[in-house]
């Protein structure tokens, strides 16, 4: 049997002369029918470029060299554009990385899905519609008759992802390339999409699955190819690679995955902070001991609703109460739209509750004027998912930190005069593991991980005692995520910080929090010590969440 896909020494680059500064280099692999090959690797390692090159869509100003690329046994090297067009969609389907924006927002999804049929078959319009309905059904979007008239804006992320898959498999191409098909999806939806891919594989189609999420990969892939800096550094059967990685980079990557890593274990290979870890929490301290520690933040019966465009009200946060103690991490987990961010904003007093109250250090917080809060502002820091957006675009890192240092301090430590500002800025950067060279740069010029660190440094500037982190690592890749999580962990121990840690990623929550609160539809449905909740979820929703978390076999130590 010929391989569904065969790639030999694929080298791709942008601009410049062919052969110069490639972003994908000497990549070779094969995928057989009915097999799933996963390509994993950190962000920017060339996964998507590889995928696009396989369809002759590397992009503007690109050059592609290869010894061989053949799909279902036929070489596609140097294929003219018109011939390419006949093969795309029919012989090979592509599911793009940015699922949320990969469907034309102006066209009904029925048309988008039907396009492949229109382009490659002579089916009548009615037949096409029938086929589209079948497809929708097969990807788990029932009630197709009304769906086909909806546009992507009317669908949720998971629905869009499924519609996109439907359009890619419309002609049942023997080879399907799926680029990050589950990123940005809630775990439960993610599980459904993976099941769908597994089904396609079972039907005998070859799949190239691209992901940076090893847990996802472990569920479905038969073989794994690990990419780094444009090259494949390791390849082999999934279980083997995950359990017994050969390449050090693969190992580091695996270590960075927080799933099922106990609290306080270091995820990143290299220590990020120069401060020596100093535990403030004696080992063996159990949840029951928590009440003896002072409560730093208390939310009681918070409620917040918003007006919908049609005038009705949407209750985003409903009767939410929790306590955050000194030096503990409270994890807040829940699917998209469950009210996590709104809760964080209420805790930060950026939003006024309709009912209920937030107090910090026993003092009124949400119920007083901003003027009165200002005194305590320094004690409460925040870290945001979109670090870049949280910086004034005109300012350099130095400016940002200097401004933050001049803001009212929260902690007890005295600070020097303005002359010390620049030394203190450098110290802050040092604390988050950044060289002082970045002081003169702007956040736009930094990488995602570096930006997030600047964000943390800024939050630390006022010596806060509480840090509210809303999805601080969701935008980062595993290895960088690991560094940031480690950093937060260390800082907490060093400075006795209390963390309200929000994430939709159960793995991250499990790793980071002492206690966890699970949110659904604006309510906290379950709360307790992390280990307990994870081991023995009471609420059905929590159970569902935990079941959906992809895990991979622990490698032997």
């Amino acid at each position: 049997m010929t391989a569904a896909l065969e790639v030999k020494n694929l080298t791709v680059g942008f601009g410049g002369r062919p052969g110069q500064d490639p972003v994908v280099q000497d990549v070779s692999f094969e995928v057989a029918a009915g097999e799933c090959l996963a390509i994993v690797g950190e962000s920017g390692s060339g996964k998507s470029v590889t995928a696009r090159s396989l369809l002759g869509l590397a992009g503007a100003h690109s050059w592609v060299q290869a010894d061989a690329v053949s799909i279902t046994g036929q070489s596609v090297l140097g294929l003219p554009e018109s011939a390419w067009r006949r093969r795309r969609g029919r012989d090979v389907g592509l599911i793009l990385q940015d699922a949320l924006v990969s469907l034309d927002p102006l066209r009904p999804i029925g048309r988008e899905i039907g396009d492949s049929l229109r382009l490659h078959t002579k089916l009548s319009a009615a037949d096409r519609t029938r086929r589209v309905l079948e497809l929708l059904d097969s990807v788990g979007l029932p009630d197709g008759a009304s769906r086909i008239r909806q546009r992507s804006g009317q669908l949720s992320g998971g629905q869009r992802q499924r519609a996109l898959i439907a359009s890619a498999i419309a002609l049942d191409p023997p080879l399907l390339i799926a680029d990050e098909p589950t990123t940005a999806l809630d775990v439960t939806v993610q599980a459904q999409v993976l099941e769908l891919l597994a089904e396609i594989k079972r039907r005998g189609n070859a799949i190239v699955l691209i992901s940076h999420d090893l847990a996802v990969v472990s569920r479905i892939a038969d073989r794994v190819a690990v990419m780094s800096a444009g090259r494949i550094i390791e390849t082999g059967p999934t279980a083997e690679v995950l359990q017994n990685p050969q390449h050090p980079l693969t190992r580091a990557m695996l270590a960075a995955v927080p799933v099922d890593k106990p609290r306080r274990t270091q995820l990143s290979a290299v220590p990020v902070a120069t401060i020596a870890p100093r535990s403030t929490v004696p080992d063996g301290l159990s949840v029951d001991d928590y009440p003896v520690r002072p409560v730093v933040l208390e939310a009681s019966e918070l409620r917040r609703s918003f007006r919908r465009p049609d005038g009705s009200r949407l209750v985003a946060v409903d009767d939410v109460s929790f306590r955050l103690h000194r030096a503990e991490t409270l994890g807040l987990v829940g699917e998209s739209g469950s009210g996590k961010t709104t809760t964080a904003r209420l805790a930060l007093a950026l939003e006024t509750p309709d009912a209920g109250e937030v107090r910090i250090f026993g003092e009124p917080w949400s119920a007083v004027q901003e003027k009165a809060r200002r005194r305590l502002r320094g004690s409460v820091g925040a870290i945001y998912q979109d670090a870049l957006g949280s910086f004034d675009p005109r300012l350099t890192v130095g400016d940002i930190l200097r401004h933050a240092l001049r803001a009212p301090a929260g902690g007890t430590t005295e600070r020097g005069g303005s002359g010390h500002l620049s030394t203190e800025s450098s110290q802050l950067l040092d604390q988050v593991g950044l060289p002082s060279g970045v002081l003169s740069r702007r956040p736009v010029d930094l990488s995602g991980g570096q930006r997030q660190r600047v964000g943390i440094a800024r939050a630390l500037a006022s010596r806060p005692r509480i840090l509210i982190c809303d999805e601080p690592v969701s935008a980062l890749d595993v290895t960088v995520q690991a560094q940031v999580l480690d950093l937060l962990d260390e800082l907490q121990q060093e400075l006795s910080l209390s963390l309200l840690f929000i994430s939709h990623d159960l793995g991250v929550i499990g790793h980071m929090s002492d206690r966890v609160a699970v949110m659904k539809d604006g309510r906290i449905v379950e709360t307790g010590a992390t280990a307990d909740v994870f081991a023995d979820p009471r609420h059905p929703y929590t159970q569902q969440l935990l079941e959906a978390v992809p895990r991979f076999p622990q490698r032997s130590r």
Binding site: R86, V101, P105, Q154
Partner: protein, 324 residues
């Protein structure tokens, strides 16, 4: 990206539509009232005696009795507030008053002139659209040079003053080539140059906007995914990109219409076309206040209708707006 799933329940939808229509109607009435009020009081600032203007300006041999009679006839002897209320009442009744200089009622006058201007404006808008779309699609298709030429043409076109362009066009097409009449004629031929004059600068503006959104659309993942389905370059443009390019231009069309009316003042004068612009310019130089008010009011009505139209068009073209 927020998930916005429209509520298709007819009740809710009906309520939304009714609310939309009511707010729009209220807004429109408010704007009309404010325009009327603003012009009424602003025009009181004009130096000179309106009665004198009615009697043919200071050059006439108006007698004091005649002036008195005119003041009485036009209610100019009433207190200002009474005059204001009277004017509002008249406007509500659709009575735009009587021209000082043209010896006729304003309503039929502007009514007749409106037609010509609308014809000019709509044709120009349509042509500008075609030109802009054509240039934007052509130039984003070619290489770097085509792109520079395209954007260069747009910038230059957008900077062309109507009066200069009109002059050059007349020179070129009427005098040197002798193929098109320089004045309005009953047929289509007479419309060509005025419409070109108005359309070219507007096409430059719209083209800039369209190119921007066209490029964004062409670089967007949904176009890539269409290509991955086997869509041709032409298909990508026709099925996907052009609609995206058109969206901002649609929402700008209400404004564009206003600017076309501004342009009509110049173009109608140069090409001797009857229309609101020329009427307005004459009225301003003749200080014919009722005509000025009449034109202002009618333009406001047209503007309101156009914004409504572009809003509806935007909503039709962009389902995302409908959901909101």
């Amino acid at each position: 990206m927020a998930e916005s799933i429209t509520d298709d329940r007819p009740r809710v939808r009906g309520r939304v539509v009714v609310a939309f229509v009511l707010t729009r109607l209220g807004g429109a009435l408010f704007v009309l009232w404010a325009v009327a009020t603003l012009t009424f009081f602003a025009l009181r600032l004009i130096p000179g005696d309106p009665a004198l203007a009615i009697l043919g300006g200071p050059g006439s041999q108006a007698s004091p009795e005649a002036l008195e009679a005119v003041r009485r006839e036009y209610g100019l002897d009433q207190p200002l507030f009474v005059q204001y209320l009277t004017q509002l009442w008249r406007l509500m009744m659709g009575d735009l008053g009587r021209s000082y200089s043209l010896n006729m009622d304003v309503a039929p006058l502007v009514g007749v002139q409106l037609g010509g201007t609308m014809q000019l404006a709509f044709l120009s808008l349509a042509l500008a659209w075609l030109l802009a779309l054509g240039l934007a699609t052509w130039s984003t298709r070619g290489g770097k040079i085509a792109r520079s030429i395209g954007s260069g043409l747009e910038i230059v076109a957008a900077a062309l003053p109507h009066f200069w362009l009109a002059t050059v066009l007349i020179l070129l097409f009427s005098i040197w080539l002798g193929v098109l009449p320089p004045i309005s004629t009953p047929g289509i031929a007479g419309l060509v140059l005025p419409v070109l004059t108005l359309a070219i600068p507007l096409a430059g503006f719209l083209g800039q906007v369209m190119r921007e959104s066209l490029l964004t659309a062409l670089e967007s993942p949904f176009v890539l995914s269409a290509r991955a389905r086997g869509e041709s370059e032409r298909g990508v443009r026709l099925v996907h990109a052009i609609r995206h390019a058109a969206l901002p231009a649609i929402s700008l069309s209400g404004w564009a219409f206003g600017s076309l009316i501004s342009g009509a003042v110049v173009v109608e004068t140069i090409f001797a076309r009857p229309g609101l612009g020329r009427t307005l310019l004459n009225a301003v130089t003749e200080r014919d206040v009722p005509v000025v008010v009449g034109v202002v009011m009618i333009v406001a009505v047209v503007y309101i209708l156009m914004t409504l139209l572009t809003d509806v068009a935007s909503r039709l073209a962009d389902p995302r707006l409908r959901a909101a």
